[in-house]
């Protein structure tokens, strides 16, 4: 009988209300028991010593780009999931802007096939419209049956009111979220960063906050009308955050994620045209960053998601305006969350873990994940919240190295990642 006993760690499991020293027994791919230290001894074939570490439900990243099919020069499901494992993520939700776009049951199943070599659980989020062209809705029921956990045209917003209304209505009946990349592209043509003093100084066209907020406002109205669930991807502005806060108060089914870079960096960090600071949505102002931190603490924000967006060197080592949007993020997210949110802004580890596990599992309806309650999938993330380390991008498991964090020192390191009861990463 395949079993593993995690001993000596401090279990933080918001879903079941546990926050104390406990041993965790995993057996046959499930959590078998969580009990006071010493109580479970002799029940397992192997044990893992987690002394000094936090033992948490396996972390879930709602927003990654694994680039397969079609863009294997940037990333593959195998390399992207290896990066996820190294970053402490046991499940990732893969965006559909592949080549071709994942708008079919065939591609959705293809992405989940064992031949892809995924090290962690991969949950596809399928395209909301055919080819993500924003014209005709895909068949949500068929996609859900094939394994899709949500629908989105990520990278592109669903601009048409009519289409978004129908998408929320159809997805709502199936109980899956419509994930919105909130950007009114009519206001952001030719833009490569946030609108502000830095964009003016650099002579770059800037994206106004209103381009994000106006779409979020509209989506709240449509979600309210349809009883559908809208999930705001990579929320970045204080206005959009405020809209989500109001929407939640009004009882609308709205949830939101924020990326580590948006709560850590600001537009000024673009410096002299460093393309490792170019992403969409762009890095915003200090005031926006402060609002996001507040939203994370008060519950307006539901999840931390990386928007892991790998690109090859030649796609970033070009003129700033021509460079691809996006940065990798899977291997640095937990360290940044500990360093910035927990240590600098005093966010309790409990809340941080919730944002990475219980809450994302609930949003995307991932049953028996995001918790260590007995019977849950045996997905566990073990991290040392005090360990100092330095990130070396050249050692990244991702195929791409487009990260602004090369050489950054962090406090908080993933020590082990366990998927389905097996230790798939030890750091």
């Amino acid at each position: 009988m395949d079993s593993l006993l995690i001993v000596g760690g401090h279990v933080v499991d918001p879903a079941s209300g546990v926050d104390q020293e406990m041993d965790v027994l995993l057996r046959e791919g499930r959590v078998a028991a969580v009990a006071a230290p010493g109580k479970l001894r002799s029940q397992a074939q192997r044990s893992f010593n987690a002394k000094g570490c936090i033992v948490a439900p396996g972390f879930i990243d709602l927003h990654v780009h694994l680039r397969e099919p079609g863009q294997a020069h940037k990333e593959t499901i195998a390399t992207g999931s290896a990066a996820a494992a190294a970053g402490g993520f046991t499940s990732v939700c893969a965006m559909p802007n592949t080549v071709p776009v994942n708008d079919s049951a065939e591609i959705t199943r293809w992405m989940q096939a064992p031949e892809r070599g995924a090290l962690v659980n991969v949950f596809p989020v399928a395209a909301a419209t055919v080819g993500s062209l924003g014209e005709k809705l895909t068949d949500f029921a068929t996609l859900k049956k094939a394994g899709a956990v949500g629908v989105t045209d990520d990278g592109k917003p669903i601009l048409s009111d009519r289409l978004m209304h129908d998408a929320l209505h159809a997805a709502g009946k199936l109980n899956i979220p419509v994930v919105q990349h909130a950007e009114d592209t009519r206001m952001t043509a030719d833009c490569s960063m946030n609108l502000g003093a830095t964009s003016f100084r650099l002579g770059l066209h800037g994206m106004p906050n209103a381009a994000e907020a106006s779409i979020v406002e509209r989506d709240i109205a449509l979600a309210g009308a349809t009883r559908g669930h809208v999930h705001v991807a990579h929320l970045s502005t204080r206005e959009a955050l405020e809209a989500v806060r109001r929407g939640k108060k009004a009882g609308v089914r709205i949830t939101a994620e924020v990326t580590p870079h948006h709560f850590t960096l600001v537009d000024e960090n673009v410096g002299d045209f460093n393309t490792h600071y170019k992403m969409n949505p762009p890095l915003r102002s200090l005031a926006d960053r402060a609002a996001l931190i507040e939203g994370i603490a008060d519950g307006t924000i539901d999840a931390i998601a990386t928007d892991h967006a790998p690109h090859a060197f030649h796609e970033k080592q070009v003129e700033f305006e021509r460079a691809a949007f996006g940065i990798t993020g899977l291997e640095t997210a937990v360290a940044i969350a500990v360093t910035v949110l927990h240590r600098h802004f005093n966010l309790p580890l409990w809340r941080m873990v919730e944002l990475l596990s219980a809450s994302p599992a609930r949003i995307f309806g991932l049953a028996r994940r995001g918790s260590l309650a007995p019977g849950s999938h045996a997905d566990v993330t073990i991290f040392d919240p005090k360990k100092k380390w330095t990130f070396d991008a050249s050692q990244s498991k991702s195929k791409s190295k487009n990260t602004p964090y090369d050489g950054w020192s962090f406090t908080g390191k993933v020590v082990a990642t366990i998927v389905d009861g097996k230790v798939i990463y030890e750091g």
Partner: protein
């Protein structure tokens, strides 16, 4: 002590002392007397965008100092075959260029080139970002007339938003204590433009902006940039064109400048462009002197 200047990318990276020494050297340069200061040096003119005065003045500057030049443009080169900027830069450097003067449509292009290519890079205009040699020649022109920059009121009127000349000039003049007024309709002079440097303000009323001005700098206004904006061409001309009447609002000894190309009848009238206060021709002449100084300094031949 900063290391000697390697590349000229923007005003921001220059120390005040470096600006002063370029200007001092420019004053001593005489385009009518060819020298052999840069004999044997090769200067590549990498122009991704069209240009008359900048390209020609860099070419004359280099040749007057005894250097040879070669022009590389996207048409009929590997650039139109899809070669990246970095690869083109490496190629030009390995062919033997001792310096690369580059004009490019993308903001920051010169910074990218300088990060990868090991020869001095001169930014001859990158998108809406910087045009440092223009700001230097403008400072030379202003100081010829005003003897100082500190305390001057400099009104820069026109399409500031799209202007690399406005950004470079404001940063340079601010460094020396001038008051800079950006003036134009809100689409061309957004409020955020005042954050560019200390002493910069934004104003949407030219009649107010011009009062007490020592320097009036008009910028080119392209009709197509007004398309879809809140202001029509007629309104622009009515409110922001520099006319002889408006010049009277400035100080009597105010000078009128324009980086070119001038669109007569748009940003200013011919009476102003060709009038007694105009320094437009002098700016062009100072362009050659200033660029001689820049090349001499970057190629290590300046005393």
């Amino acid at each position: 002590m900063k290391p000697p200047l390697r590349s000229l990318l923007g005003i921001e990276q220059l120390t005040t002392a470096q600006i002063e020494s370029i200007l001092a050297l420019a004053r001593r340069m005489d385009p009518s007397r060819p020298s052999q200061l840069l004999r044997g040096k090769r200067v590549a003119l990498l122009f991704y965008e069209s240009s008359t005065r900048t390209r020609t003045s860099f070419e004359f500057a280099a040749k007057t100092l005894g250097a040879t030049t070669t022009l590389v443009t996207p048409v009929s080169s590997s650039i139109e075959k899809g070669e990246s900027l970095i690869d083109t830069g490496w190629t030009v450097a390995n062919l033997g260029a001792d310096a690369i003067v580059m004009r490019h449509a993308n903001s920051g292009a010169a910074y990218l080139l300088a990060r990868y290519v090991r020869v001095p890079i001169v930014n001859a205009g990158d998108g809406m970002h910087q045009h440092p040699s223009q700001a230097l020649l403008d400072a030379l022109t202003i100081t010829n007339h005003k003897k100082r920059l500190n305390g001057l009121r400099v009104v820069i009127v026109g399409d500031v938003y799209h202007s690399r000349v406005a950004r470079s000039n404001a940063e340079l003049l601010s460094r020396f204590g001038a008051d800079i007024v950006f003036c134009g309709p809100p689409d061309f002079v957004p409020e955020i433009s005042a954050s560019l440097a200390p002493g910069v303000t934004a104003c949407h009323d030219l009649n107010i902006a011009l009062q007490g001005a020592d320097v009036v700098m008009a910028l080119r206004v392209q009709k197509e940039r007004l398309a879809g904006k809140d202001i029509s061409v007629e309104d622009y001309i009515a409110n922001y064109q520099v006319t002889p009447q408006r010049m009277k609002l400035a100080k009597p000894d105010a000078v009128l400048m324009h980086p070119g190309p001038v669109i007569r009848g748009m940003e200013l009238t011919s009476e102003v462009a060709d009038g007694p206060q105009s320094c437009i021709h002098e700016q062009v002449r100072n362009g050659v002197k200033t660029r001689m100084a820049i090349l001499a300094m970057l190629l290590g031949a300046a005393r």
